[in-house]
């Protein structure tokens, strides 16, 4: 079959799943909605593999295909099709998205099993996967924007899935609003590109852009900055990152799927997809590199101090996406996409492990309350540790190769980029430290009562409380479900985590410098026009980078070991000595407060001014009130004529006719 035919299947199956579950949930018996949803995504993954094989059958120079379904818009000088673009980059994204999503669906079948919103959850999940696949398969900016907005909407629905939690609905709104800021950026960027090139499909835009724009032309830089705005909002980069930690209000599988493995990488995909534009606008690409670096450092520092298990992983996600953004912005496209893939594996795995631990704690997410789960949850312990090792960049695991490749490419660009590379190394030290801060605090140390209970074969069942506020929750309505589920006891959860753990270990073989580099080679047809295709760090540089990265990872893990296991008193000591820094980090660099003071409050004040002065005084008083009194005055005259006296009417009639006759008489003279 043609790759594009497979592509339509990849796209259609999740949509079908959404429709079946959303419209037929009342007819579906038991928990079958979960199995239908998983099957739809599993088949979509199978179709992605079919698409990959069909693409590999073709010669390398013919690996970019466009499949058009129908014309979407055709009007004065502008036309846009509903079309998909199948090339190695899109295929890689499809494989990652559908593959990881399939495992997360499997995990959710167990994790959400007692939730009353079970079918709704799977309808949303399938819709999300459809949107994400639409985003990566779109062949033009119009469809990209559609997928982009769908993904934002699906994210909103899933973050506020437990809509009885006020904090969850607030987090959903926050995520949606920030995402819409990005959507607007993306739309403006597309306008600017259309204005310059007269086209919106990727192939024409990328072909025409070098003719239409000079290098670093103001318009192409503006367009790329607008695209970056969209990418930053979706990928939670500074300063549009504040929604991602709050998005942890959603169920844990949602955090794993959307806020780690797939949606937040959309920005990375966008930059990689639009690389011909960013190479025309190096200034914008540099902005991307600098923001990516700033984010990866910022998020790594906050993750050091965060006390909520899921939020630590959320900040680590931001940090790792910072690496990817840095990678694709310095033209290390293969490395950036490689890290995107390995990160999807180990971060989904970490979230799944965290979900299992949180369930064992009866819904408590605070790191301070956890400890000693090593014996009680051996499976979760092993898989979570594998994920943490991969995240830390421990030698020979997947994160080791991908992260260090990005840094090697960055340093290879020379001059100012070396600074970015050094910052990235510093952050990877912090990464190793906070990754093992989680491991040591959750799984080592004296077992907490919940862990001891579990060791005796009894899953702790605490009353549900909102992890953000501590308020007791009403489980009678079934959101969240009354029961807890841990990987040790649920086969689907194990079945989801084991392949991810395996991939987190071995996925690195796709990109061993000088040996395999399979992924980079596979992606080459997409990036063959790139100016930087041949600029590749020397093998020696890459290998020494790997050694340095591995050493840094081991150093970070060792530091965490000393602080959290060997000498726990040191931790208290450090915290007290740097109390100011600790508070600063605990408050996430006061970004929320900054936005509150600079944006939210002025906006609220202008809103109040509008309501009290403009609306009530001017609009209601002058415009509406004035119109009313004019009409009232006019009608009161007309009303006073209507006396009901027949003879008065006759007199008026006569007077009127006489007046008319007199007028015409006078005029005719």
């Amino acid at each position: 079959m043609n790759p594009t035919t497979w592509g339509w299947l990849v796209l259609g199956l999740p949509l079908l799943g959404t429709a079946v579950i959303a419209f037929g949930w009342k007819l579906l018996p038991g928990r079958s909605a979960g199995w239908i949803g998983s099957a739809a995504i599993g088949l979509s993954f199978a179709a992605s593999i079919g698409m990959l094989l069909a693409l590999l059958d073709r010669p390398e120079e013919a690996r970019a295909l466009i499949g058009t379904a129908f014309t979407y818009i055709d009007t004065g000088g502008f036309s846009s099709d509903v079309a998909i673009y199948v090339d190695p980059l899109a295929v890689l994204m499809c494989l990652v998205v559908s593959g990881v999503s399939f495992l997360i669906h499997l995990y959710s079948i167990s994790y959400m099993t007692s939730d009353e919103g079970f079918a709704r959850f799977f309808a949303y999940l399938n819709f999300f996967v459809f949107s994400m696949l639409l985003l990566v398969l779109a062949a033009n900016f119009v469809l990209l924007i559609v997928g982009w907005a769908f993904v934002g909407a699906a994210s909103y629905l899933l973050i506020s899935f437990w809509y009885r939690r006020a904090t969850a609905t607030a987090a959903g709104i926050k995520a949606f609003v920030i995402n819409v800021i990005g959507d607007v950026g993306l739309v403006i960027g597309a306008f600017l590109l259309f204005e310059g090139t007269g086209a919106l499909d990727y192939a024409s835009v990328f072909a025409l852009a070098p003719e239409s724009f000079e290098s670093n032309d103001a318009q192409i830089v503006a367009a790329c900055l607008m695209l970056l705005l969209g990418a930053f909002a979706k990928s939670a980069q500074l300063p549009l990152h504040t929604w991602l930690p709050d998005a942890m209000e959603g169920p844990t599988p949602v955090s794993a799927l959307i806020h780690a493995a797939t949606m937040v990488t959309a920005g990375v995909y966008l930059i990689a997809r639009c690389h011909p534009l960013f190479e025309l606008a190096p200034a914008a690409a540099d902005v991307g590199a600098i923001i990516g670096t700033a984010t990866l450092l910022f998020a790594a520092t906050v993750a050091l101090a965060a006390t909520d298990l899921k939020r630590v992983i959320a900040y680590s996600t931001m940090s790792q996406i910072g690496y990817m953004i840095l990678g694709v912005s310095v033209a290390a496209y293969g490395a950036g996409m490689f890290h995107l893939m390995t990160h999807a594996f180990f971060k989904a795995l970490l979230f799944m492990g965290a979900g299992s631990v949180i369930s064992a704690m009866g819904g408590i997410q605070a790191l301070d309350r956890m400890g000693g789960f090593r014996k009680a949850m051996p499976f979760t312990f092993v898989t979570f540790t594998i994920g943490a090792l991969a995240l830390a960049g421990f030698p020979l695991l997947s994160g080791f190769f991908s992260k260090d490749e990005i840094i090697a490419f960055t340093i290879n660009r020379g001059s100012g980029y070396v600074v970015l590379g050094v910052v990235a190394y510093i952050a990877s030290l912090l990464t190793a430290f906070y990754a093992f801060r989680m491991v040591f605090r959750v799984f080592f140390g004296p077992p907490v009562p919940e862990a001891r209970e579990l060791e005796q074969g009894n899953l702790h069942h605490g009353d549900h409380a909102n992890p953000a506020t501590g308020e007791a929750e009403d489980t009678g309505v079934g959101f969240p479900g009354p029961d807890h589920h841990i990987a040790e006891r649920e086969l689907p959860m194990k079945a989801a985590m084991a392949p991810l753990a395996l991939l987190a270990v071995v996925a690195g073989v796709l990109g061993v410098p000088g040996l395999t580099e399979t992924l980079e080679h596979f992606l080459e047809p997409t990036f063959e026009q790139s100016r930087f295709l041949e600029t590749h760090p020397s093998e020696a540089a890459e290998l020494s980078g790997l050694v340095a990265g591995g050493a840094i990872a081991i150093l970070g893990i060792a530091a965490a070991f000393v602080v959290f296991i060997r000498n726990p008193a040191l931790r208290q000591d450090v915290r007290e000595r740097f109390a100011g820094v600790h508070t600063f980090l605990l408050n996430k660099w006061y970004f929320d407060e900054l936005f509150d003071a600079t944006i939210v409050r002025p906006a609220a004040a202008s809103g109040r001014f509008g309501r009290n002065v403009v609306e009530s005084a001017f609009v209601q008083g002058v415009l509406v009130g004035g119109a009313i009194s004019i009409v009232r005055a006019g009608t009161s005259v007309a009303r006073s004529i209507q006396t009901g006296e027949l003879r008065a009417y006759a007199a008026l009639l006569l007077a009127g006719v006489s007046g008319l006759v007199l007028y015409f008489l006078i005029v005719s003279i």
Partner: protein, 99 residues
């Protein structure tokens, strides 16, 4: 004889009719006065038709007569209906058209 006299006569009759409509309270008398006004108009029509030597005005006057007859039928019908329902035969008392 000049047409002016006929027109002056017509105007007089019209004014008498109009004054009657405006001053009398009995619907019957008002109807009579309306007839006066209509016939004043007819007179003017015929006078002008004769002055111009054109028959169309006379035909028009005949049509006005027919319309007047119809109007009288309706008007008298209303008056009879009012009388039957023992309503006051007085236009000032019938002021329910008030807005």
């Amino acid at each position: 004889m000049s047409a002016i006299w006929f027109v002056v006569l017509s105007a007089f009759i019209f004014c008498i009719g109009a004054a009657g409509v405006l001053t009398r309270r009995s619907p019957l008398v008002i109807l009579l006065c309306l007839e006066l006004m209509l016939n004043a108009g007819n007179l003017a029509l015929i006078a002008f038709a004769r002055m111009h030597g054109n028959g169309e005005g006379q035909i028009f006057a005949l049509i006005v007569l027919v319309v007047a007859a119809c109007e009288v039928v309706v008007g008298l019908g209303i008056v009879v209906a009012m009388y039957r329902r023992r309503l006051p035969i007085d236009v000032d008392a019938m002021s329910e058209l008030r807005g």
